[in-house]
């Protein structure tokens, strides 16, 4: 391959950059929300459990 500036090739990439980064952020944000949700649900259960033990 000869290294050369290929502007046409380059012009196909901004969409991939934009939607790529967006896609990664969306996926990780959903995982973030899922962790928050899981932590909330199972933290509550733990409290109940520990409360029951104390009684």
């Amino acid at each position: 391959m000869n290294i050369r500036f290929d502007v046409d090739n380059f012009l196909q990439t901004p969409g991939v950059v934009l939607f790529g980064m967006l896609g990664v952020f969306i996926a990780l944000t959903v995982i973030y929300l899922a962790i928050l949700l899981l932590s909330r649900i199972f933290k509550d259960n733990k409290k109940k459990d520990s409360g029951a033990t104390e009684k």
């Binding site: 391959m1 000869n2 290294i3 050369r4 500036f5 290929d6 502007v7 090739n9 380059f10 196909q12 990439t13 901004p14 969409g15 991939v16 950059v17 939607f19 790529g20 980064m21 896609g23 990664v24 952020f25 969306i26 996926a27 990780l28 944000t29 959903v30 995982i31 973030y32 899922a34 962790i35 928050l36 899981l38 932590s39 199972f42 933290k43 259960n45 733990k46």
Partner: protein
């Protein structure tokens, strides 16, 4: 006698250059302790594959194709993506996602620090690489060997050897690459920001559900990367379920070690002089560096952006740990923090961002495949 020495006449200068490159990789592995588990087998394999009429790689002799063992291994383990996936089971079993689960917002830094992948993809396209090769080169910025192999192999890139050498070499060079970039994009005041670590209890149930839920989310949103994420998370589930300790230990040790041995030497089948000794290889190695630099910049700038909106300021160096090179990057950030202020411990925050980078890089690989596939 003539028959015995005829092979000597087949030696070309490009082969000698590959022996030197192989020797340098072995030297880096042994003398500098740089990713020795991969660089050493790759270095030896580079020599093995570049001996004249080497029987280790496929040759056409007198019109007959004689299959070499390195190509057999490549077809059996890399062409079908088996080795990187098996290695991911081991990596998943090794990773403690605890720091991330106790501070999940670190996931966002993992996302931001994938910027180098996409930036380098654009740059490679501008330099005339076709989109499949550009995507494969960009993924060096995943800072994650199995993901680089997976994507480069998916696109059947001609440059898989150079890409993997670059990916593993730069992972080992993270302690040299990241600090100057971080210093360039942060002020001393920012580097001194303290982030007290609040130890939060993560329940065993959350630890068990995390790999399952993450696999499902990534599988639905970025299905191309579900195999990688799935195997990574399967390994982590083996670790966290606490009832398969022997399997978890086997995945971390025997499985990961065996696959690593085979992976390193098998990659060498793509380090033959006719595929490797090209100007393109040098350009790819330089682009790999660009990818790591822009990953770091992406993470740091994202942390600075967040600081405009949050009350509890984030040390922007933590953003740089969002690249997937685990655990080197978190150690680099921790050490830099200690250098600025010996009482500022950033390790747990950086470790959270670092393991987030592991997930984010795999997702980025899947997203890249999905988006580029539509263009070609």
């Amino acid at each position: 006698m003539a028959d015995i020495f005829s092979n000597v006449l087949e030696i070309r200068w490009e082969m000698v250059l590959m022996w030197v490159i192989g020797g340098v990789l072995i030297w880096l592995a042994i003398a500098k302790d740089m990713e020795p588990t991969l660089l050493l087998p790759m270095g030896f394999g580079a020599i093995l594959a570049n001996l004249p009429t080497s029987g280790a790689v496929t040759q056409i002799i007198n019109g007959n194709t004689e299959e070499g063992v390195l190509d057999v291994l490549f077809n059996a383990g890399i062409a079908n993506e088996l080795f990187p996936l098996l290695l991911f089971i081991g990596i998943g079993a090794m990773i403690d996602f605890g720091p991330l689960l106790s501070n999940p917002k670190m996931l966002l830094f993992g996302a931001a620090a994938q910027f180098g992948i996409f930036f380098t993809f654009s740059l490679a396209a501008l330099l005339g690489f076709d989109l499949k090769d550009a995507a494969s080169i960009g993924i060096i910025g995943a800072a994650d060997g199995p993901t680089s192999i997976f994507v480069a192999n998916y696109f059947n890139s001609n440059y898989i050897g150079a890409i993997i050498v670059a990916a593993y070499s730069y992972m080992a060079l993270v302690p040299i690459i990241q600090p100057p970039v971080i210093r360039l994009f942060t002020t001393k005041k920012e580097r001194l920001i303290r982030m007290p670590y609040e130890q939060k209890e993560v329940s065993a149930t959350v630890r068990i559900l995390f790999p399952i839920v993450t696999t499902m989310i990534v599988g639905i949103l970025a299905p191309r990367s579900v195999a990688l994420v799935g195997f990574l998370m399967f390994g982590n589930l083996l670790r966290e379920c606490k009832v398969l300790r022997i399997l978890s230990e086997s995945a971390q040790k025997e499985l990961a070690n065996l696959v690593t041995i085979l992976l390193g030497i098998t990659i060498a089948s793509k380090m033959r002089y006719d595929l490797f000794v090209k100007v393109d290889t040098l350009v790819i190695i330089l682009l790999g560096l660009v990818a790591f630099v822009f990953d770091t910049i992406g993470g740091v700038l994202f942390a600075k952006l967040l600081n405009l909106f949050v009350k509890k300021k984030i040390n922007p160096m933590v953003g740089a740990a969002g690249i997937s090179a685990f655990p080197m990057s978190s150690r680099v950030v921790h050490k830099m923090g200690l250098k600025e202020d010996p009482t500022n411990f950033l390790l747990m925050h950086a470790a959270g961002a670092n393991v987030a980078g592991q997930i984010a890089s795999v997702v980025a690989g899947g997203v890249m495949i999905a988006l580029v596939e539509k263009l070609i």
